[in-house]
């Protein structure tokens, strides 16, 4: 019968084999699925990515060159003005005895492509390694956290948003500083969950969830979203916390790439967040004058973010 099927009905044979392969892939454990994806990306897709990168570098360079020359001239003037302001800022800081903050820069990038899948989860940016956008950089908007760079070529980068299963974020509840991990849950209703929060902890709907800064990829204090629902897991040990994202991912066209350790950077003033709630258990800012004098703190906690402003 099998021989009959193989030779007389090759279309059915191909169909059955293909379906079985698909079902096997679906039933694989997540780790194994990630290994398969990694293997395919580094074997089947690698030549295509290499060719695309080569075309992108070769064809795009002439068109890009003229545009960049103009941009460099404009930016140089801005940099000169900012250097003067930075010097003045440093002098004033010394006068006020304020501590120096870790430097960072934000690189603006346009969303040039979106996930092919209906559920979304990834973006392509029009900036790459040559613009300082490398793997594991945090991606933000003034509204909050978008995700992280998965990989980058010379002028493009692929971003895993927080709505992707491979993008987990160390997070905390701003009001009570309860820590957990934000992860997109692919279940009955795809939602963002704050995981590993004990049933004893104080978390309520409406609480603001921000990054905790642990893990080293995402800077501390960036808004992720607000708690939508809180329930107990069936085992009664952990809380089941559903979080609504601060960023509207459907209308996302421009993002900011966080590049820590870049002294030339400036933060746009619209990244300023509101004050934390009065009953916050967060440690108070070391100096209230410092908080008001620094116009670039990202996040909503009262504690200053680890990387906030250019010195």
């Amino acid at each position: 019968m099998i021989r009959n099927l193989l030779f007389r009905r090759p279309d059915w044979t191909v169909f059955i084999v293909t379906s079985l392969v698909c079902l096997s892939l679906i039933l694989l454990e997540r780790r194994a699925q990630e290994r398969v994806v990694w293997f395919l990306q580094h074997t089947v897709l690698a030549p295509a990515e290499f060719a695309a990168g080569w075309v992108e570098r070769g064809v795009g360079v002439y068109w890009e060159n003229g545009r960049l020359r103009q941009r460099v001239a404009t930016l140089q003037m801005e940099v000169d003005a900012m250097r003067a302001e930075r010097g003045e800022n440093a002098r004033l800081r010394r006068l006020l005895a304020l501590d120096q903050r870790h430097p960072f820069a934000l690189v603006a990038a346009d969303v040039s492509g979106r996930s092919l899948d209906r559920l979304g989860g990834s973006l392509t940016l029009d900036k790459g390694e040559e613009e300082g956008v490398t793997a594991n950089r945090a991606i933000l908007t003034p509204e909050g956290l978008v995700g992280r760079v998965e990989r980058a070529t010379a002028h493009q980068a692929r971003v895993l948003t927080i709505l992707h299963r491979d993008c987990a974020v160390a997070a905390r509840v701003a009001r009570t500083r309860v820590e957990g991990v934000i992860r997109w849950n692919f279940g009955d209703q795809p939602t963002l969950h704050l995981l590993y929060v004990s049933s004893q902890e104080d978390v309520k709907p409406g609480d603001l969830v921000v990054t905790s800064g642990q893990g080293g990829i995402f800077p501390e204090g960036i808004r992720i979203g607000t708690v939508d629902r809180v329930a107990l897991e069936p085992n009664g040990l952990m809380k089941e916390i559903v979080v609504t994202t601060a960023v509207d991912f459907r209308g996302l066209e421009q993002v900011l790439v966080y590049t820590p350790g870049t002294a030339e950077g400036v933060a746009p003033p619209d990244l300023l967040e509101e004050e934390a709630p009065a009953d916050s258990l967060a440690a108070p800012a070391p100096d209230s004058a410092a908080a008001s004098a620094v116009p670039a703190s990202i996040g909503a906690t009262t504690a200053p973010p680890t990387g906030t402003v250019a010195p």
């Binding site: 090759p10 279309d11 191909v14 169909f15 293909t18 379906s19 392969v21 698909c22 079902l23 096997s24 892939l25 679906i26 694989l28 699925q33 398969v36 994806v37 395919l40 990306q41 897709l45 040039s112 492509g113 979106r114 996930s115 092919l116 899948d117 209906r118 559920l119 979304g120 989860g121 990834s122 392509t124 709505l163 992707h164 299963r165 997109w184 692919f186 279940g187 009955d188 209703q189 795809p190 459907r250």
Partner: protein, 164 residues
């Protein structure tokens, strides 16, 4: 020649799906041109290329997806195969037949897709079928017919013909 033409069509569809289609999103619903490509491919090239093409396109989509690996590959393989089997003796140049085929194929695709995506939750599955699948199928069928019309006028030849 057919291979080159199909590769070109796939390249255009991939580019459109990744870049421009979100701009014509209506209420969170946007056309799924990759399914439409699988329908076109299966319809024109037969069951084996249809199944394998659906598998390849689906796997490519799965590598970029948040859901389980193989979900798109399974749905598109089945669509590629079924369209090729069912569409063997119909008039592909007829607009009504085209619409019916694209619409039905999209629904079959989404039944499989959401059956896996909802993990067996019947209520959620029905909800997704009404809220997402039906509007997407309708929107995709209309958008595909429009695109096909433009492409056929532009190239002055029928992309979906009764010839094989």
């Amino acid at each position: 020649m057919k291979l080159i033409r199909d590769s070109m069509v796939l390249l255009v569809v991939l580019s459109l799906q990744a870049t421009l289609l979100y701009r014509i999103e209506i209420g969170g619903i946007r056309p799924d041109l990759l399914v439409a490509f699988v329908v076109y491919f299966g319809w024109m090239r037969g069951p084996i290329p249809g199944t394998l093409g659906g598998f390849g396109v689906g796997l490519l989509q799965d590598m970029d997806a948040s859901g389980p690996l193989g979900m798109n590959a399974l749905a598109k393989s089945v669509v590629g195969f079924l369209v090729a089997r069912a569409g063997f003796r119909v008039h592909r140049s007829n607009v009504g037949v085209r619409f019916a085929f694209f619409f039905a194929a999209l629904l079959v695709h989404d039944i499989l897709y959401y059956a896996v995506a909802t993990g067996g939750d019947g209520g959620e599955f029905v909800k997704q079928m009404f809220v997402k699948a039906l509007p997407t199928a309708l929107y995709t069928a209309v958008a595909t017919l429009l695109l096909l019309g433009v492409a056929e006028r532009f190239t002055r030849r029928r992309l979906l013909t009764d010839e094989t």
